[in-house]
Symmetry: C2
Subunit: 350 residues, 2 copies
């Protein structure tokens, strides 16, 4: 493809609460940083709580098919207390991850200079969690018997396949190998979840033989949370299952500047489907409309999106802008969503 | 029973690594604090890695039956890297919890004055996690198909019953009601684990109507880990399932003075079986034999044991001794296991 015909077809799901506000700033930064010969085409999708209330729909097939015709998806946040728990999560967010086979849920954690984390002292923190995105206890397997009676039994089944575990483990090894420290930690609970644990551990060891330069270790998930608080600097790349990854990455956000900075990519590395990028935070209905939401996590998700689509230099520019901005912000008065967006636009175009 | 005939029949499982060292100090403190008319009878059980290597046994039926004939069990720690992961956990620790129906796994967390936690600032932290102990993903349900082949499927089944959830939720409400703040938080992941989540949440709401004085809220487990780091003082009593409780309590230990202080009780509230008390930490083979392990978590577990058997005043004396000792230790040179034991004995007998 010649430079003059490059294009980026981006599906945008602003969502609920602060979603539209942070997405607007993410798009501003994206527009500002993209090379001028790249034609950015965006298409907005009205999905989330508002849509569900209006039509009862979470993600109709036609929209799923239409979303598929894009290079990537940028999502703000969906959800509202007025929607029953699970409806949008399973009907929209997880449906997208499963339908588009987002088996690598990528969540980098960095303590940027200038951001005071909650931990005393400021160790250098820079790791990435590769969370499996299509298996584990997230498959919806399970059910209940004698529901609502004193004799009820409710089950949740964690499903783990050699196919699913191997591909995400291999992806994590490749990422670890490309990083300076080349260190990969498997997090599981193989002393209790013995079947899934054995599959993860055997796969981890076997695939590791293809990556002799990578140093590995294993931690039980409970021990990993301790290290996350006491020695987060020990981590480089972590690979783990869907549920442990969910828990660990929120914790990681908490120890590195907060959920306002945590970016994520739901990635289909094969490129068979569009990957989706979203801040880890939710729709924060309590501050929606106040113009005070921090768009940084969305902007950092845009950097992941750029990197995934091959715009490495642009991704680095966005990340550098954020790092500089956070250092400059340090101690300054709180800014509006729009002011932070403007500051980041100024830096990426400087 | 007249005062002069009171007795305490205690089964002791010193275990591996630092287990015997910390248990010795726990027993010293117990002996020192017990009223003089209480006859303490202890019987030691040789269980753990050493035993497994020698005989291949983890917990023979005869020993299980013999353990049952006690008022309580004190366990140090079991495990060693030389034993395959899961063997002692499932063959001994979990076997005891299941055989003796330890459905309340009680784990208090307190930031004692004088202990510098890893969090900047020192909020007042004083909460207790009531972790379900006999269900969830710990039942051993699950298996694998086409094991070891590229077509393998491995499952883990989380089993939740109305019977099991209701009794632990009711116990947690009663504990919350007895505390000054009377606040109970349910931690689950009901937006993804919808079957188990609904059972937990419905039960929580229904049982709550019996405890109108208790204020309640609900947190997803990922959000709970964030609060555990950013606002641990918000928690009073937490009730949660077996796996989430495992993860949350290690994290709680990390934010409150470390795993060296974390005590736990595996409680059968009905009194049909002996309850078991153990530090949350493991056998720490790296420091075993050096005489440097901190016995405080074991001593605090002895306090839980005393309270469970009705020795409330003695439990408070032990906890006060620990609090004073930690405050006095602050900044002082590290002590040996034996010195800490002696210091605590001195305080409880003062
Ligand atoms: C909203 C929820 C389904 C989701 C998850 O559990 O994966 C969220 O917590 C996340 O981490 O992206
Ligand atoms: C050793 C292991 C089986 C155990 C558990 O997972 O319950 C431990 O982590 C604990 O918290 O007591």
């Amino acid at each position: 493809m010649s430079r003059s015909t490059r294009s980026m077809r981006l599906a945008v799901i602003p969502g609920d609460g602060i979603g539209p506000e942070v997405v607007a700033q993410g798009l501003r930064v994206l527009t500002a940083v993209l090379p001028s010969d790249v034609k950015l085409e965006t298409r907005e999708y009205d999905l989330g709580a508002r849509r569900w209330h209006a039509t009862g729909e979470t993600l109709p097939d036609a929209e799923l098919a239409s979303l598929k015709e894009h290079d990537a998806i940028l999502l703000g946040a969906v959800g509202d207390p007025s929607v029953p728990s699970g409806v949008l999560e399973r009907g929209l967010l997880l449906k997208l991850r499963f339908a588009f086979d987002h088996y690598v849920n990528l969540r980098p954690s960095r303590l940027f200079p200038g951001t005071a984390g909650p931990l005393a002292g400021t160790p250098r923190i820079d790791f990435v969690v590769v969370r499996e995105g299509t298996e584990g206890p997230y498959t919806g397997n399970g059910g209940s018997l004698r529901t609502g009676t004193p004799a009820e039994v409710a089950t949740e089944v964690s499903v783990n396949t050699a196919y699913g575990v191997e591909r995400v483990v291999r992806d994590a090894y490749a990422r670890a190998q490309a990083r300076p420290r080349k260190r990969l930690t498997l997090v599981h609970k193989d002393n209790v979840l013995v079947h899934a644990g054995r599959l993860w551990k055997d796969t981890f060891d076997r695939v590791g033989r293809e990556f002799p330069a990578v140093t590995t270790d294993y931690l039980h998930v409970d021990a990993a949370t301790i290290f996350m608080v006491t020695r987060p600097e020990r981590f480089d790349v972590i690979v783990t299952d869907n549920l442990f990854g969910d828990i660990l990455t929120d914790l990681a956000a908490a120890v590195t500047g907060g959920i306002g900075l945590a970016a994520s990519g739901n990635i289909n590395p094969d490129g068979s489907f569009p990957s989706m990028f979203e801040p880890v935070h939710g729709s924060a209905p309590d501050i929606a409309g106040t113009g005070t939401a921090d768009p940084t996590a969305t902007v950092l998700s845009v950097a992941l999106l750029l990197r995934h689509l091959g715009y490495e230099a642009e991704a680095v520019r966005v990340e550098t802008a954020v790092a500089e901005d956070l250092a400059a912000r340090d101690g300054a008065a709180p800014r509006t969503t729009e002011e932070t967006g403007a500051a980041l636009v100024a830096r990426v175009t400087a």
